[in-house]
Subunit: 135 residues, 2 copies
DNA sequence: AAATTTGTAACATATTTTATTACAGTATGA
DNA sequence: TCATACTGTAATAAAATATGTTACAAATTT
């Protein structure tokens, strides 16, 4: 659910990092992303579950970063958004009576797993602070 | 169109490599992938446009590999299936009046571009023959 | 000529993603 | 204490994308 999850999440976190002293409302954040506030709150719910942010309900409520941006890596964000690098699988179960069909998904998984390792290594080297400081 | 494009294409090519002397019908290939033959023909059309395979119409027609499997890399297949590694973008144009919204897509593109380089390097080192010989 | 296959278009269905509406619960502050 | 402005979440709707089906002309073989 939500395919631009990573992009949206990093956008949210960048905003929170830019306003470290404020509780930002989902409406404000949604205005920057140009996205429905409910979807912003859903992504924030995910961040909260990972203790990356904290929110305050009620008037003047909102959300605030709860971790050190220098210590939060893009890899962690990547993993929190349930993303996996890969080039996809065919939708249907391939034919188990065909030697190729029987094994293709396993071989693709192996390939994609290597890709993930490479990408993870890269993302591990970039912190939210690094990313945010580009702006 | 077709999201398992890469997986389907490499499945097709692996089959063609396994039967180098036959023209395989879209129906036969579809039976291994468990996919509609029309969709197989669509992917084959893409491969034909890149001169990777040749087909023969009419009775006993079908498709056959037209290149050396040792010289066709997964990177080429990746590119032919129009895939790009990345973690996606938010669907809507972000707010251009917000310093973060204004620039986030550019920064994401830069990040994804690096990811592509890393992944391409990996895929460049694997030929269709390598992949197929695992089976 | 009959049979079989590609190529392609048009349309239908399914799945996934995004958007909207609604409203209960919570904190703020006038 | 009451109006206001938020979060949290569910339910539903709409839009976008992916996959599947049907149909049939054109090509080739036997």
């Amino acid at each position: 659910m939500i395919s631009g999850k990573f992009a949206i999440t990093i956008h949210i976190l960048t905003l929170l990092h830019k306003f470290p002293n404020d509780y930002l409302s989902s409406e404000f954040i949604a205005g920057s992303i140009n996205l429905n506030p409910v979807l912003v709150r859903k992504e924030i719910a995910n961040l909260k579950a990972h203790h990356i942010v904290e929110s305050k309900e009620g008037k003047n409520g909102g959300t605030k970063l709860a971790v050190n941006a220098a210590e939060l890596t893009l890899k962690q964000i990547f993993e929190m958004t349930f993303e996996t690098i890969g080039l996809g699988f065919a939708k249907n179960q391939p034919n188990p009576d065909c030697p190729v069909g029987k094994n293709i998904n396993q071989h693709l998984e192996n390939l994609y797993s290597e890709m993930n390792q490479k990408v993870s290594l890269q993302l591990e080297g970039i912190s939210l602070e690094d990313f945010s400081n580009q702006f």
